[in-house]
């Protein structure tokens, strides 16, 4: 800054000295800036970009991690296998089913709760805390806890159902019910998190909009559709995206609660990737599954980006 001022007032033939100093400073500044970002760039390159590229490379290989010297190129064999593997296809189906069920349930519950606790009532903070409480627990904890609650013989849920006159249910041991059970507990655990984000969004909507609408005689329902919902548009789209991406990565619940069963009804894509690549050490085949999974995620992101852009118009 100051050098530039000197530059403009300096006599013409002295200006080159200042240019030289500025150049030298700039090179020094560049070296300093690079040293700021370099550690992060090296780490991200080694542990994100390289693995990302490697998953494509491995997907064309027959590769057992314990026998690195026996790695051999097999072309598209892994992909041919992926698309005829009935369990993997089942896992894609299960993952989509979980996502389609859990996203509207969790997002709807979160919005409902946020509207409910966005009031000036006595003790409302306690209720916020109660709705948020399940999110503080880790997925491992809630998976174990709900496996015990869902226990068909002497579990808590069946005894609650019995007490209101409903017959005992098999829950996780039944292939048609198991996935619904996982959907239910996932939404139960996650909704409080998105509730907090919705709540922040609700509190960002200026109150004068509601006051003006009140003066104009708009009903509560009209206010909701014309002020509240548009005000939450960006947040909703974003949460929709993050819940969807989180949902397609479902892993811990089936791993802890059902090991993919019964009858593969809760096998998910990531669980299959984990089993194939890690448990059975079949890195090449697991990587081919990973590539398919990455493509699925990319398609979801692209579709939602498109939705987001068209909504903004």
């Amino acid at each position: 800054m100051s050098l530039q001022i000197i530059f403009t007032i300096a006599p013409l033939k002295e200006r080159w000295i200042i240019i030289k100093i500025m150049k030298k400073n700039r090179i020094k500044a560049n070296a300093v800036s690079i040293s700021f970002v370099l550690p992060a760039i090296i780490l991200l390159f080694t542990f994100m970009i390289i693995p990302f590229a490697l998953s494509f490379y491995y997907s064309f290989m027959d590769y057992n991690i314990l026998k690195p010297n026996a790695m051999s190129f097999v072309g598209l064999d892994n992909f041919k296998k992926v698309f005829t593997d009935t369990i993997f296809i089942k896992s894609i189906y299960n993952t989509f089913r979980f996502t389609i069920l859990v996203v509207p349930l969790q997002l709807g519950a979160a919005l409902g709760l946020a509207l409910l606790v966005n009031k000036k009532l006595k003790g409302i903070k306690l209720f916020r805390l109660a709705f948020f409480a399940p999110t503080v627990l880790s997925l491992v904890v809630i998976s174990i806890l709900w496996t015990i609650i869902y226990n068909p013989n002497n579990g808590l849920l069946n005894s609650i159902l019995n007490s209101i006159g409903i017959a005992s249910q098999p829950f996780l041991s039944d292939p048609t019910q198991a996935m619904y059970c996982i959907v239910f507990l996932s939404a139960w655990q996650g909704a409080g998190f998105q509730m907090m984000i919705f709540l922040a969004g609700l509190q960002d909507i200026p109150t004068y909009l509601y006051e003006a609408a009140e003066v104009d005689g708009a009903s509560k329902v009209q206010q909701f559709f014309n002020i509240t919902l548009p005000g939450l548009k960006n947040i909703s789209v974003l949460l929709f995206l993050t819940i969807t991406i989180g949902a397609v990565q479902l892993l811990v619940q089936p791993m802890m609660m059902t090991q993919g069963g019964p009858l593969n009804s809760t096998v998910t894509i990531v669980y299959e990737i984990y089993q194939t690549g890690y448990k059975y050490r079949n890195m090449g085949y697991g990587s081919a599954m990973t590539v398919v999974f990455t493509a699925i995620i990319l398609v979801i992101v692209l579709i939602q980006n498109k939705l987001m852009v068209s909504k903004e118009d």
Binding site: M1, S2, A29, V32, S33, I34, F36, V37, P39, A40, L43, L44, T46, F47, M48, I49, P51, L54, Y58, I65, P68, L116, V117, K119, L121, I124, F127, A130, F131, V136, L137, S138, L139, V140, V141, I142, L145, W146, I148, I149, N154, G155, L156, S159, N162, S163, M196, I197, A200, L239, T242, I245, L251, V252, M255, I273, Y278, T290, I297, V301
Partner: protein
């Protein structure tokens, strides 16, 4: 009118209480059952007693002492605290430096690099876990905390959060310090870091929660039982047959306490982290 309003309020409270009960009944059951023995848990389950603490007796904390004595729960908790602590320190330094670099300093190509880093945010950890495992395997970090720590230090989202914060700080103080002859490092440590304390707290909590809950990566990297993390210890506690419910409940409650303490004491930053994660993009 006012009676109608009162009724309205009454209904709202009823709805809130029912919903709150729905959200916390499993948690209450978990805590309460951790103080009971198995026959008592099973006999209480069919009545409201399931949610009531038992009368105080000599064996009140039996499940806890059993859980701590027979299983390396305490050891694995210390393991978790250790490696998470190292991750938090390294991650705060690396990501905040990068955030500052991208916010303030300019050199050719910096914009492109930053765009690439933003694009990395959409890569979910699960899509790279297999090749990452093979890299960690080749580096010889299997069964070592290095394998848990080093790969997760740099994080595009935290870099982004730091950059946004630093962009919001006034530039003038830095210019003044520069004129006084301070170099970039001094400016960063003496001026920027103290001004940005809240974001450091927020990111630290986000890292804690993420790594505390992380399960699959430690399962892949660590196989030595003496090095296992707390979530792994819980999982093995649950796999002992026949399942001792009281002991499992004590383990679950015990593991929830640290997160609960952090949540309750640093609620402001915790919530900021959540709301911040909603501003991704």
């Amino acid at each position: 009118m006012s009676i109608k309003k009162q009724n309205n309020k009454f209904i709202q409270y009823i709805v809130l209480i029912l919903l709150a009960a729905f959200f916390i009944f499993p948690l209450i059951w978990m805590v309460v059952s951790s103080f009971k023995n198995d026959p008592q848990i099973l006999s209480d389950v069919s009545s409201i007693k399931a949610f009531m603490l038992p009368a105080f007796n000599d064996n009140y904390f039996y499940n806890y002492s059993d859980c701590l004595k027979q299983l390396p729960i305490l050891k694995s908790m210390l393991n978790s605290f250790f490696y998470i602590g190292v991750i938090i320190i390294c991650s705060l330094i690396v990501n905040s430096l990068a955030g500052y670099g991208f916010a303030r300093l300019d050199f050719p190509g910096i914009k492109i690099i930053f765009t690439i880093i933003l694009a990395l945010m959409i890569i979910p950890a699960q899509t790279i876990m297999l090749p990452l495992f093979s890299i960690v395997f080749k580096l010889g970090w299997i069964n070592s905390y290095l394998g848990l720590i080093i790969p997760v230090i740099a994080n595009p989202f935290y870099i982004f959060l730091f950059r946004q914060t630093f962009l919001g700080l006034p530039k003038e103080i830095e210019e003044a310090a520069k004129l006084d002859g301070a170099n970039q490092y001094t400016i960063f440590v003496k001026l920027i870091m103290p001004l940005a304390k809240p974001i450091y707290a927020t990111v630290a909590i986000m890292i804690f929660v993420a790594t505390w809950n992380d399960f699959i990566w430690p399962v892949m990297v660590i196989s030595d039982p003496s090095k296992q993390t707390i979530q792994m210890a819980l999982s093995s506690l649950f796999s002992i047959q026949p399942i001792n419910y009281g002991r499992v409940m004590a383990g679950l409650t015990f593991v929830t306490i640290p997160v609960l303490i952090i949540f309750l004491t640093m609620q402001k930053y915790y919530v900021q982290g959540i709301v911040g994660s909603g501003s991704k993009n």
